[in-house]
């Protein structure tokens, strides 16, 4: 289905800044300007009517709002406006008519632009134009509008708040700081106070959120935004009294509180409570069947809980009402594309993948996740509802759209509870990620989310998922890197009590990755110091409605500050050697210290003096024993030992890499070769198996696995590998199927072998090897 999204763009001839005669790249916002004289509004024939229309809209009385707005736009279209304020009123009327009417949205923008052209001091018109741009997802033009105001009035509280919203939308700048500037300019500006409250709530800083929400309400007891934040937190925390108070306050102004319930739904999404979000969004739609954000939240989250048809229908409706929404367009386009995907139901899982990869991926991922399900169910005392849907995307952009509606998400996988999505291993370069550990990680979220009734904070959920990856063995789960230890040395890591911000508001690109690792170390520390039951007990604490300090106190018997100190001491001990090795000459030195210098020297000497190089690599290895990168000392030492035909030493070193590094393709291949050459078939199989979880598309790996497994008497594995070869669409499909028939025969599945052979010989009756096997099976 062809689907195009509208784009609301500035009309250059009428754009606010051009009308004001300003250069868009003019002075910075902080430039000093003379205070402007107060602006006198002109006579506006529609002032009362537009105020009444907007009031009706806020109450949820769309009919009255539409009738009033239509009267204004009819008058405007017939007789035009007489001054800037009348243009502004006309624009506001068009905005009210803009639901499902893209032309009205454009007319609104044109009217706002004319209002500004008629009076460059009419900041309200510029503000509304910017807000309209932002509402229609055009942040750059919104920013230009707000910058235009701020250049003339740098402390305009409304424009500062609007700019904060742009920054939040773009994920750039510091929206919290900009909103605080707005509050500094007008300490009783309820909208700005509520905005800050919402940001705190979304960062899971509930105490601060409550303070700001209360300040918003104190400043304006009718502030829907303030009550919504307060109400949403009360809802999430099960505080029914505060929730009821908030609802009563909101409904006093808005008898059909669609916006309030949509806000609750969005807050629920932030806590990954998708099923509740859908229910809340449905209530919002029930109150206002034209409220686009409610359809958006409903559809997006229906898709996240596997209600594919209902989700699509809701998004179709949202897109029909708001054709500017690129997120919805992208998601609908992806759903169209997914019609070609194959669905494989097996055991407790439903695998949905591109047709050319579905069979291969399902062969391996289902048994792995069945194993994960059983072990996680025991550990966390919880069983997520099944079937669990696992979607694979060949193109990362598609995975990103599935997750957030837009391309550009950096993550490898995502868990919405009983729906997991991830890149196919083919979606990235070989060696960039491990699809087995990624799936295990995402499935763990389904358990930790469920066990905590979706109340576990993101940082702990991620830490547990990485810890569970590591428990599997096979080198899975993140390990220490030079940059992580450097960040420790330089003091740039957040303490545990602030780790949520490391995920939600990273200050530098690597911080999210560091936060995953730090969270997993915290989990390790807790398990080591408090026993295996402590982590599930923490989840239970969250499930019972406790916040993080409460959980720390009850389960760990400590305060957040004490846990920060304990974690600091734990990691300092754990990485004592590495810290000394990577620490630079000064606190800000990020060169990697002695470790990196020694490695560099070793690499430089490899061509000229191998003995010296070896000695340097061994020194480096002693300095940072945890380091297992394929650019690290163990890998170089393994390569040198192999070159010298010292396979024992080569194996010792390479195993150090493969047992810690989940994406080490070359190292695992070396280990497989060395072990096979030494007759260690079991060890070779283990290495080949690890390769398969890095990149399952190498037919030779599967052939080797099939052959070695058969030789070891693991007939079932041999059959699996033969099936995998077929699933990859080999060049010689008939020969691959013949080999499968042989493997089936060896496994005792004579009927299966015969069935396979008949199909092969039906295609190629003269296939002599297959004929001989058929005769053998029939005892001839």
């Amino acid at each position: 289905m062809r689907r195009s999204a509208w784009v609301l763009v500035a009309l250059s001839a009428l754009s606010p800044l051009t009308a004001c005669g300003q250069d868009r790249a003019a002075a910075p916002l902080t430039a000093r300007v003379a205070p402007l004289p107060p602006r006198k509004p002109g006579p506006d024939r529609w002032a009362a009517e537009i105020a009444a229309a907007e009031s009706a809209s806020r109450r949820g009385d769309r009919r009255d709002a539409t009738q009033r707005a239509s009267r204004i736009t009819a008058a405007y279209e017939q007789g035009g406006a007489r001054n800037s304020d009348e243009y502004l009123s006309a624009g506001r009327a068009y905005v009210l008519l803009g639901v499902g009417n893209a032309q009205a949205v454009r007319s609104a923008l044109a009217a706002f632009d004319r209002a500004t052209a008629a009076d460059s001091l009419n900041f309200d018109a510029q503000l509304r134009a910017g807000e309209l741009f932002l509402e229609k997802y055009n942040a750059p033009d919104a920013r230009l509008s707000f910058e235009g105001i701020l250049r003339r009035s740098p402390t305009d509280a409304k424009a500062l708040l609007a700019m904060a919203r742009v920054e939040e939308f773009e994920g750039a700048g510091n929206p919290m700081a900009t909103a605080r500037l707005s509050i500094a300019s007008d300490p009783r500006y309820a909208e700005a106070l509520a905005f800050v409250a919402k940001m705190h709530r979304d960062a899971e800083a509930y105490d601060s959120a409550r303070v700001y929400a209360q300040r918003a309400i104190d400043a304006d007891s009718t502030s829907s935004a303030g009550w919504s934040v307060l109400g949403s937190m009360a809802f999430l925390n099960g505080d029914s009294a505060t929730f009821r108070t908030s609802l009563v306050a909101v409904t006093a102004r808005q008898p059909a509180p669609a916006e309030f319930y949509t806000e609750l739904a969005e807050a629920s999404v932030r806590q990954r409570r998708y099923t509740e979000a859908v229910a809340l969004a449905k209530r919002a739609v029930g109150y206002d069947s034209l409220y686009v954000p409610a359809y958006g939240v409903m559809g997006t989250n229906q898709l996240r809980i596997g209600q594919m048809d209902a989700g699509r229908a809701a998004l179709e409706r949202a897109f029909a009402l708001d054709p500017f929404n690129l997120w919805h367009k992208n998601t609908l386009d992806l759903l169209d594309k997914m019609k070609t995907f194959r669905t494989i139901d097996r055991g407790r899982f439903r695998v949905v993948a591109p047709p050319e990869e579905a069979d291969l991926l399902a062969l391996y991922i289902v048994p792995l996740l069945e194993q994960a399900y059983d072990s996680l169910a025991v550990r966390y005392g919880y069983k997520p509802p099944t079937p669990i849907r696992l979607e694979f995307y060949r193109y990362h952009a598609d995975f990103s759209v599935r997750t957030v509606g837009l391309a550009g998400l950096g993550a490898l996988g995502v868990s919405f509870g009983s729906l997991l999505a991830m890149d196919t291993p083919n979606g990235r370069e070989k060696g960039q990620f491990n699809w087995g550990s990624t799936a295990w990680h995402e499935l763990t979220h389904a358990f930790t989310l469920g066990a905590s009734d979706h109340r576990v904070p993101r940082w702990l959920s991620e830490g547990l998922s990485v810890l569970e990856e590591r428990r599997v063995g096979r080198g899975w789960g993140a390990d220490a890197t030079v940059s992580y230890v450097l960040a420790m040395a330089n003091g740039t890591l957040r303490p545990i009590s602030q780790l949520s911000d490391g995920f939600l508001r990273p200050r530098f690109p690597e911080e999210t990755q560091f936060s995953y690792y730090a969270a997993s170390l915290f989990c390790e520390m807790v398990e080591a110091s408090r026993g295996a039951a402590a982590l599930p007990a923490m989840l239970k604490g969250y499930r019972d409605g406790m916040d993080t300090p409460g959980v720390f106190q009850k389960v760990l018997g400590t305060t957040p500050r004490q846990i920060d100190a304990e974690f600091e001491a734990y990691t300092q001990r754990k990485f004592a050697l590495a810290l000394g090795a990577v620490r630079g000459a000064t606190p800000t030195d990020s060169s990697g210290g002695k470790f990196v210098a020694t490695m560099r020297e070793g690499v430089a000497k490899m061509g000229s003096d191998r003995n010296a190089a070896r000695a340097l690599f061994e020194q480096a290895r002693a300095m940072f024993p945890e380091y297992s990168g394929e650019d690290g000392p163990s890998w170089y030492l393994a390569e040198m030992a192999r070159a010298a035909n010292d396979t024992t030493r080569a194996l010792t070193f390479v195993e150090y890499v493969t047992s810690r590094n989940e994406t080490a393709w070359e190292a695992n291949m070396m280990e497989a070769d060395l072990r096979e050459a030494r007759g260690d078939k079991t060890g070779a199989i283990r290495a080949l198996d690890r390769l398969n979880w890095i990149w399952p598309y190498d037919p030779l790996v599967h052939v080797r696995l099939a052959t070695l497994s058969a030789a070891q008497g693991d007939r079932a594995r041999a059959v699996l590998e033969r099936r995998a070869i077929i699933a990859m669409g080999p060049t010689d499909l008939l020969d691959a199927r013949y080999e499968l028939a042989r493997a089936l025969r060896d496994a005792g599945d004579i009927a299966g072998a015969r069935r396979e052979l008949l199909q092969v010989l039906e295609e190629a009756p003269s296939f002599e090897k297959a004929q001989a096997l058929l005769l053998e099976l029939r005892g001839k």
């Binding site: 060049t731 190629a764 009756p765 003269s766 004929q771 001989a772 058929l774 005769l775 001839k780």
Partner: protein, 153 residues
């Protein structure tokens, strides 16, 4: 292709028109197929021109798909029926009349299999499979007999 095409002539081209001007990889796969059992699609021990063509064309498609590139070459064959009859290498002919007779019997069985396949859609599954297996076993025994008599395939 229209210029080169003629009766009793098989023309294979790496590209479909003169507009496909990028360097092609078809020839390298066509040449390598000549030494590969994998190219023998019907596993009869003989490589027909069409089998080699099809093998190379498939491999070319994979090369472009796996490297996420738009395919800029599309190979053509002028007469696929003739190309399927023209083979590289030796045929199964023999001077031994016993072997010649066995080969003829096997060819008859192969024809029966082909005939059975053409009726598959109209037959009961069990009956089809039983008849197919009977023919295939007979075929397999015939191949064994040819081998035992010193013949090749």
């Amino acid at each position: 292709m229209p210029v080169l095409k003629a009766p009793n002539r098989v023309v294979v081209t790496a590209t479909k028109t003169s507009n496909e001007r990028n360097e092609s990889v078809f020839l390298q796969y066509f040449a390598s197929a000549l030494g590969m059992d994998a190219a023998d699609a019907d596993k009869d021990g003989r490589l027909s021109v069409f089998e080699v063509f099809r093998f190379a064309r498939t491999e070319v498609g994979k090369v472009y798909t796996s490297s996420n590139r738009m395919q800029t070459e599309h190979a053509l064959v002028s007469d696929s029926l003739l190309a399927a009859r023209v083979a590289f290498g030796k045929t199964a002919a023999s001077a031994n009349p016993r072997i010649t007779a066995l080969i003829a019997e096997r060819q008859a069985l192969e024809s029966e299999v082909a005939s059975l396949r053409s009726k598959k859609a109209s037959m009961n599954v069990e009956a089809y499979e039983a008849e197919l297996e009977r023919l295939l076993l007979a075929l397999a025994e015939k191949t064994q007999a040819i081998r035992a008599a010193g013949g090749g395939t």
